[in-house]
Symmetry: C2
Subunit: 313 residues, 2 copies
């Protein structure tokens, strides 16, 4: 038997057939259509295509899992709201896919799917209690308790990015102020660098972005950092403080076996984790006498969406 995992994104949709060992045997990708109806039709075609090209029948498919970039209700199968996809509000999604294929369908958000993938096949394999932060444009969270994904009421828990780091601080996309996301997302890191650049015209960051502040991105920032630019180092040290304090909070709340960092910034690997681990060690991982929490970066990156979605089945 096989499962199918579908990773829904604002620009493209990736689907893959996954075998029992968590390996993708075939994957296909299509651009994301503009309306929910057109999108759902294209997803159904994509899955049919995938099954056909894999020389399988639906009898050999145990179920189909989906990871969405936004708010969904995994119990009802309804997509509540996708901030970056037009008109995706209160869409009764799972039933449409079930009707088309007659197999079990499960949905979750993308951070949850990624967390599940890492726990089943990646950096947190075998761990029973896992917390994951995805550091991208926003900051997503995933929580595994006793080997199972914990989603909370209406699947609206594990929103770890939306927890206070500085009460009344930077405005967050969620409407609150001072959330972790407002300090440790890629967007926040870039904004922190831009602020510092305005006060320091000598930084190599200026030449790296051709004296145009607007072109600064994560890639340029980490190039400067790895070249030893003082300003980039200063900004990164402050970023590490923000992120580590957030991690210490989740150590105290969950005391998991392992914390996994995913998303764009996690590609920095040990540049990131060495500093975080030092910070957390100096702070006794939140609580004197408490067990250390292993802190690692995600290992599945690109395929995690498909693998995690398939693992819902």
């Amino acid at each position: 038997m096989y499962t199918i995992g579908v990773d829904i994104g604002g620009t493209s949709i990736k689907a893959g057939v996954v075998d029992k060992s968590g390996k993708i045997t075939l994957s296909l990708q299509i651009p994301t259509k503009n309306s929910p109806n057109a999108c759902i039709e294209s997803i159904i075609s994509l899955i049919k295509d995938l099954i056909e090209k894999s020389n399988l029948t639906t009898n050999q498919i145990k179920g189909i899992g989906f990871g969405f970039p936004g708010m969904v209700n995994s119990k009802t199968g309804v997509v509540d709201f996708l901030p970056n996809m037009k008109d995706w509000e209160n869409i009764d999604f799972s039933s449409k896919i079930e009707n088309a294929f007659g197999v079990k369908v499960k949905i979750t958000n993308d951070a949850n799917a990624h967390t599940l993938a890492e726990q089943k096949y990646g950096s947190a394999k075998g761990a029973k209690n896992v917390v994951m932060l995805t550091l991208g444009t926003g900051v997503g969270g995933g929580v595994i308790i006793d080997g199972k994904l914990y989603e909370g009421e209406g699947s609206k828990g594990a929103e770890l990015g939306h927890t206070t780091l500085i009460l009344g601080g930077n405005k967050c996309g969620c409407g609150r102020k001072g959330c972790l996301e407002a300090y440790v997302s890629t967007t926040a890191l870039i904004n922190q660098a831009k602020e510092q650049m305005l006060e320091n015209k000598e930084s190599a960051l200026w030449s790296l972005c051709n004296n145009d502040l607007a072109t600064l991105n994560g890639k340029i920032f980490f190039t400067a950092l790895n070249n030893g630019d003082k300003l980039a180092e200063k900004v990164f040290d402050k970023y590490i403080e923000y992120l580590s304090e957030g991690i210490l909070n989740f150590c105290n709340i969950f005391r998991p076996e392992i914390m996994v960092l995913g998303g764009g910034i996690s590609a920095q690997g040990k540049v990131l984790t060495d500093k975080i681990i030092k910070y957390c060690e100096d702070s006794y991982y939140g609580l004197k006498g408490a067990p250390k929490v292993k802190i690692v970066t995600a290992t599945l990156s690109n395929d995690a969406g498909i693998i995690g979605a398939s693992a819902l089945i």
Copy 2:
């Protein structure tokens, strides 16, 4: 069959026989002895006494549960550290009680015990996902996931008071800065009132504490508040903001069915919860479109320690 619950405190130790329905059939209390050895001996005598006075035999006791005011390891049965009890460090506790009575022994911290009591027999009865905050000298936390107490690695999770509200803010007893505990414990509330009193000599709080700032306590503060003192109202409104923002964090992290507030301050009941609920409603309980989280005060108060400890069995 019966269970026994023992509530260990810095000044007294309370033990009770609890029946299947969670009712205490008999309870006894002794002062807390000065050393761990003397204390353990007195606990064994207390339990023997309790069994005898209940006309029971150890065959009728299913097990004995203990709630401790500090850090314990529920898996190993070792008491790691009790901040307010001398020499309680790394004490192999459970095995000693097991040897004395030949029955199952379980230990946890007092906030966990209280949370379990509320979920089994109190304000959160029947709920599967519960988060509790105990607002006392410190701020404890308890988490029930899928009907089971969640303690984390080495029982060092659910330390909900030690999560950042204001990065770099007020010093917390745990060594970090800006923890929720440093803003919403009774101690913190009293300190906030004292600070404001120094700037406002007209507050009724001054006469209520005979012009001696050092005598201000929770009882005096809430008397002034309930009498409509403007300064007390101002301090309380700020306190509600701190506490509500902490609660919103736990809504986003756990999205539990219910949040329970315990500890001294929770005796204020609706004076406390009405304001918190209004604050959380105005903030969409942390996330627009997410289910509301029921917010209540604990109902078992005095007996919660015994009942919760017995419920470990």
